[in-house]
């Protein structure tokens, strides 16, 4: 371990035939194109007026492009409060979920104890319960805790919804890290905690990031629970805010340009978050010095 081999990930790839790699790259670009296209379409649409969007033509580039949709969405004045609310809920959910789930994943993948099997089974079963019929009970629960319209109230429900999955996910990653690595390090004189932090934890980083991203997106995009326990104007999260554009009015048509601008605005913080995380994913943590 101490003599860790620093290997470029490309060591194997270098032996691939050039043609194969070219083909793979072409396929990769095609995949990227297919997945990015609807996103492009959202952004493209956000620069056109609703009238233009419904004029019956395919516009690959915005016609008469303007920031009007963004300015009117912004002018509604409700974006920033909703953004604040969403950020608070999402980061509370993310932080608590990762800590709780990581500890639990450690427990079930590194220890044997009475009740372990039951816990695993329970976590699995909770995933399988359809949530569609629960809204009355959830409202009553949060109401009785006096947490309606609060960050904490909705976060409790989110954390409980995301933790089981995250435990499962992380358990797989923890199981994927050979305990021998830790032991070797301990033979080298590190304490178990040190060995864990220095050896195992970095190897878990991709797993933590993957499940963290999942938790983030769940909390960020969720709206069925939010609309039940966050009913006041002041406590709206972004997805609820977005819905108010889709169903703005019974006596006017939905302004699709504004919907797309609002959607784009919601996606921006996620992209920023991803870019941040992406940096962590590709940094030395993943392919770096600990391998070997």
């Amino acid at each position: 371990m101490s003599a860790s081999v620093v290997t470029r990930p490309s060591a194997v790839r270098r032996r691939r035939p050039r043609v194969g790699r070219m083909a793979a790259s072409a396929l990769g670009l095609l995949v990227a194109l297919v997945w990015a296209f609807p996103v492009y379409w959202m952004i493209n649409s956000s620069f056109m007026s609703s009238i233009r969007l419904q004029d019956g033509r395919v516009h690959l580039l915005p016609v008469n492009a303007s920031w009007d949709n963004y300015t009117s969405v912004w002018a509604s004045g409700s974006f920033l409060p909703a953004l604040r609310m969403s950020l608070a809920v999402t980061f509370l959910t993310l932080a608590v979920t990762l800590v709780f789930a990581f500890l639990a994943a450690l427990a079930i993948s590194r220890f044997r104890f009475r009740g372990r099997r039951s816990f695993i089974l329970a976590v699995l079963l909770i995933q399988m319960l359809p949530a569609e019929g629960l809204f009355i009970a959830q409202y009553r629960l949060i109401g009785s805790l006096h947490l309606l319209n609060t960050v904490l109230g909705v976060s409790i429900l989110y954390i409980a919804a995301v933790v089981p999955f995250t435990v499962w996910m992380l358990r797989g990653f923890v199981a994927g890290v050979p305990i021998e690595l830790e032991e070797a390090a301990m033979v080298d004189g590190l304490s178990r905690t040190q060995a864990f932090i220095r050896i195992t934890f970095p190897l878990l980083a991709p797993g933590l990031v993957a499940s963290g991203v999942y938790a983030f997106l769940q909390a960020w995009n969720e709206f069925t629970v939010a609309l039940v326990v966050l009913q006041s104007d002041a406590s709206k999260t972004l997805p609820i805010w977005l819905r108010s554009f889709v169903q703005a009015s019974a006596s006017r048509d939905t302004d699709w340009g504004q919907v797309m601008a609002a959607s784009t605005l919601i996606a921006v913080p996620v992209i920023v978050f991803f870019l941040f995380v992406q940096g962590r994913m590709t940094s030395g943590l993943v392919s770096g010095a600990v391998k070997g």
């Binding site: 056109m48 109401g143 009913q231």
Partner: protein
């Protein structure tokens, strides 16, 4: 109209009818005198009530109830039923006054969600209030919710296409309408691909039921305590026959299309004119559509104003008229609009009543009309103005009908059986057999257990 659609979507209706005994008994109508100052909450559905009206309500309420405050919260139509289901019974969090769709109204009124305001009925307008909406908020002769505003749907057409096909005057009867639109589809005077004389989606039951109503048919009738689906009734069948003919002869709309965005089919695309002025690209593929009145904001020539895309109504290209009845006059169409009532769980019923008085005051009723929302009180309908849209709105609304107030109606709507039934008719299915099958399925749903 959207609120009706969402009534279906959201839900919660079917169980409503126990013997209708439960109405607002939970709140005692407190002693007269000045109510204690407090903050009350008004839920408005969607963004239909303009800000100026909201501000007026707040100011006026504060003026009339010194020390008290009105808070207005806007709820989205699509989520309204979920929110009403959870918050209305909750004394600690209930809104005091609530706007809701008129088909939602009977559902919630029947389970006792609203306060009995029969004592205010006359003061708020009484017989002047739109009767079909009042009925939707009534149980056993007691008033729980009252109309807030109404809307209606009427016919929009391309007068240029109609004229080119040789039809110069709007039809006087429903039969004329049926033949006219078929004639235009056949003539297709401008050679437009897939031109519909009348664009009617196969699943568009909200517009299609006008033909049933116009022929004196009903969707369901009540005998004693039981509702019966009446698609097999001879009058209903007459309407269905006309519809099937329309679908065969006049409409090229997809058989799985609904009433969403029909106006797009009436508009020209961003036309590209060549230098000789001959080339024009049409997105247009309908000579006629039927839509809620507000669609006129979305119909017109494409142009620019201050650098922004706008559609401008053009009288030489477009026209409107209310759907004509079988013997002339106006056909009954599907009404849109909303009701308003006081939550039975409200802790401040006196303040809530004070707000109701402001809403039904002449000033506020006229403000509604000036903003294109049909005022609940017939005395103030003139405030809608007298342009062609206001006239078409008023005339079509005069005869408009609501869907049956059966306990299971919302459940039937959300089952989407209506969409499927009309789709089958549009695809040429045998009317009698399909109607019989539908009735057999729908009747038990209409009388859903409570």
């Amino acid at each position: 109209m959207k609120m009706l659609r969402f009534a279906a979507l959201g839900a919660a209706a079917a169980l409503a009818l126990t013997a209708c005994s439960s109405g607002g008994g939970t709140t005692s109508s407190s002693a007269s005198g000045t109510p204690e100052a407090a903050t009350i909450k008004l839920w408005l559905a969607g963004g239909d009530t303009p800000d100026t009206l909201r501000d007026y309500l707040k100011t006026e309420f504060a003026k009339q109830n010194p020390g008290s405050t009105l808070v207005i919260e806007q709820q989205d139509w699509g989520d309204l039923v979920t929110k009403l289901t959870t918050a209305l019974p909750d004394k600690a969090n209930t809104p005091d006054v609530v706007e809701l769709g008129n088909t939602q109204s009977s559902t919630f009124t029947n389970v006792g969600a609203f306060l009995d305001i029969s004592d205010m009925y006359d003061e708020l307008g009484g017989a002047k209030l739109l009767p079909s909406f009042v009925a939707a908020g009534e149980v056993d002769g007691k008033n729980y919710t009252l109309p807030y505003y109404f809307g209606s749907r009427y016919v929009f057409y391309r007068s240029d296409l109609w004229a080119a096909a040789g039809v110069t005057a709007p039809p006087a009867t429903l039969a004329d309408f049926n033949t006219d639109v078929a004639k235009i589809a056949t003539a297709d005077p401008k050679g437009i691909a897939n031109l519909s004389g009348f664009w009617l989606g196969g699943q568009d039951w909200r517009n299609a039921i006008s033909w049933i109503f116009a022929n004196g048919g009903e969707l369901a009738v009540k005998n004693g305590d039981t509702w019966t689906s009446t698609m097999s009734d001879p009058k209903t069948q007459e309407g269905l026959k006309q519809l099937q003919t329309l679908w065969t002869t006049a409409s090229k709309a997809p058989r799985d299309a609904t009433d969403a965005n029909t106006y797009n089919h009436l508009n020209d695309a961003d036309s590209v004119a060549a230098t000789d002025g001959t080339t024009t690209t049409y997105s247009l593929d309908a000579a006629t559509i039927m839509a809620p009145g507000w669609a006129h904001w979305s119909i017109g020539d494409l142009g620019q104003k201050d650098g922004k895309d706008v559609r401008t109504w053009n009288d030489s290209t477009f026209g409107v008229f209310p759907l004509p009845g079988v013997n002339g006059g106006y056909a009954p169409v599907f009404a849109g609009g909303s009701n308003i009532g006081i939550s039975a769980a409200s802790q401040h019923p006196e303040l809530a009543k004070s707000l109701m008085k402001i809403i039904f005051s002449p000033e506020y009723q006229q403000m509604l009309g000036k903003n294109g929302l049909g005022p609940a009180n017939a005395d103030y309908v003139s405030s809608l103005g007298d342009d062609q849209f206001a006239k078409a709105l008023i005339n079509s609304a005069l005869n408009s009908k609501l869907t049956p107030a059966a306990p299971g109606w919302a459940a039937l709507e959300s089952s989407k059986k209506l969409e499927e039934f009309f789709q089958k008719i549009s695809q040429g299915a045998d009317i009698a057999a399909t109607a019989k099958e539908f009735d057999a399925q729908a009747t038990p749903i209409l009388n859903a257990k409570s």
